[in-house]
Symmetry: C3
Subunit: 273 residues, 3 copies
């Protein structure tokens, strides 16, 4: 993996425009600052094109999607594409409602994404049943295990081929892939699923890492995934006494704010496939 | 009180659909996870019926109410009723504006709630002046004290009779009642009122507890109220040195994530009336 | 500076109506409680006039501005003016988009603000290029330094003259001024810029301090600015071990909840100009 990815983030302080949900938005803003980026949240159609123009990257997250912001997402995405910006999609809840699945698919048709970050079921919902390559995810349940890992890698590569985006499929085991190459990442802790927003936070961090490293999208996305998982591990080690998930959330952001390339290099568990 | 209520939550991981305010939504999501549930936030009319259908319970909270989401609340509530789901109402700010009072009353007319969780003045606003039973709350000021406790219990039972919902009236002393029976709960700390969202968090936890214990709504609601108060006590005991309300918020969520039935049984201060 | 400003806040518990962004709203609510005030968040046009009427002060923050809430801001502001309430404007992102700049200017035309709290570039955007006094900020870059401090003070006084509001211009060095007098404040830590919402939180605290001290707006606003900076310092001193920006956010709210006039008097670094 490419070295010095975090240093680039901290040197260039990429400004990331977020159109995101109101559940985890504060954590996303704080972890973007913690990793070395800078966040702007703006979702009104009247200003999203202007706001995204002054940024380096855009992160579109469809959690708490509403009819007002769908149009903002499309406008911002198209403008970001025209400017050659990094654009990340977090299809939160795709597959859980037709509104989210359809919106995510429509965004995929109109916008070229640099990275799509989601869990297995969200990414399967994007892939869609009508695909000629339907067989690819037939063996893939809703979580990635050592057993179905080859199928998961093949699915991620296929989805990357179809969308042109790097795919960051996260869960107990993470797979980050473009059409040709995949990283399998085994950082993280199960307790991360007991705080809201670790996925949303990761999508924001991915946008910052990729914006600061535009020539190395696959490696930057993999570094973001490994970094988030490693922060989950470092935070987990701090838990003691009466600490629980409230402290864990705080410690994860702490860990990200103290992270550098050396810590990441020593702690990441990344394998090429 | 029924035993094993929390164990049921942690075993069944009830999925709770929340239509809630943007002030405390992150805390609600985190405490739902901490208590053993799983949160989904979705408020657009285009998807709420579908989302609530895949959940076990629904929590409607009218803080930061807006005209766009009122319709979503009605749709989700009706669907949840049709499916026999647990439905909790948190009438935040009812009585503070006609918009909130009227919306809360309209929701009460159209939706059958399993539990209504609010403070005295919110619940009095729901009860309404035109009620034939107006006298019931005549002696009840805006906080429950040892002096007006009999009136408070009578009011809660009366409101339960009127609405068909278990009433969880929270404050310095909490009263949880159906038409026949009431629990008086004396857990909690005054400092809890110095962090935002303890009421909203409790409503979410109540939805999870009642969804996981559908045969024991009164006891599950009382357990939720006692659990939240006990977490406030356990968190209060941890405060030291320069700690203040920021740490207190974190410690409350910590305590909920570490809570089990044994801790609750030993710490709850519940009396039947 | 006037003494006893915080005691007044804690005695009178000013109720502050906030129309604010969904990024930092939870922190604003928590720090308002921490400083001794009480927050209400309400942004729907159907209720803002009624809500603001039961409050003592109003804080309008244009972060994540949207077309639905602009009208609410205007309605609430006019009503608050009619009632003689404290009204604070936080023009988040003015200058970053025409929508925000135009909205902020429109609000300034229609509403009389007690205090405007922003950073240099936001306040310059409000001042506008067409002003006859354009020269005032010609030497002022986007941050206040010891070198351009005289220009910064002159600019703040000029903007106060133009708007009738006390100006709280915050950054590495803070300037709080009315048309005649300025305070220069050197509390705070650079790390505060690495957590989201310190500006929004300060605007909320400013609304509470000024509402509780209506005869001393300039001093109350300066006290709020010094208090927020001092909390940043006290929180910074607590950082140890693996602590980072997550803990720092918590410690700042802790510090505010423990603050009193004596701590502020001993810790503030305020100079008159």
């Amino acid at each position: 993996m490419k070295k010095g990815i975090i240093a680039k983030v901290r040197e260039t302080v990429p400004l990331i425009h977020n159109i995101t949900n109101y559940v985890t938005v504060n954590d996303v803003a704080n972890i973007l600052l913690a990793c070395g980026g800078s966040p702007i949240m703006a979702d009104d159609a009247a200003e999203v094109e202007e706001i995204t123009s002054i940024c380096g990257g855009l992160c579109i997250n469809i959690g708490t999607l509403n009819s007002r912001t769908v149009d903002s997402m499309r406008k911002a995405g198209k403008r970001a594409n025209a400017l050659g910006h990094t654009v990340v999609l977090d299809p939160v809840g795709a597959g859980a409602s037709a509104f989210r699945t359809d919106t995510a698919k429509q965004l995929l048709e109109e916008i070229k994404f640099t990275v799509i970050r989601g869990n297995v079921s969200e990414l399967k919902a994007l892939h869609g049943e009508k695909s000629a390559t339907k067989g690819v995810d037939a063996d893939l349940s809703d979580s990635v295990t050592e057993e179905n890992l080859p199928a998961a890698v093949a699915f991620a590569k296929e989805l990357s081929r179809k969308t042109g985006a790097v795919i960051a499929m996260t869960g107990a085991i993470d797979v980050v892939a473009d059409a040709e190459k995949a990283y399998v990442i085994r950082n993280g802790k199960p307790l991360m699923s007991k705080i809201t927003g670790t996925g949303c936070m990761l999508s924001g961090v991915t946008a910052a890492f990729c914006t600061a490293n535009p020539e190395d999208t696959l490696d930057a996305a993999a570094a973001a995934v490994a970094a988030m998982g490693l922060c989950g591990e470092l935070a987990f080690e701090r838990l003691s006494g009466a600490d629980g998930t409230g402290s864990y959330r705080t410690y994860i952001i702490d860990a990200m704010s103290n992270l550098d390339d050396q810590i990441l290099e020593e702690g990441r568990k990344v394998e090429s496939r």
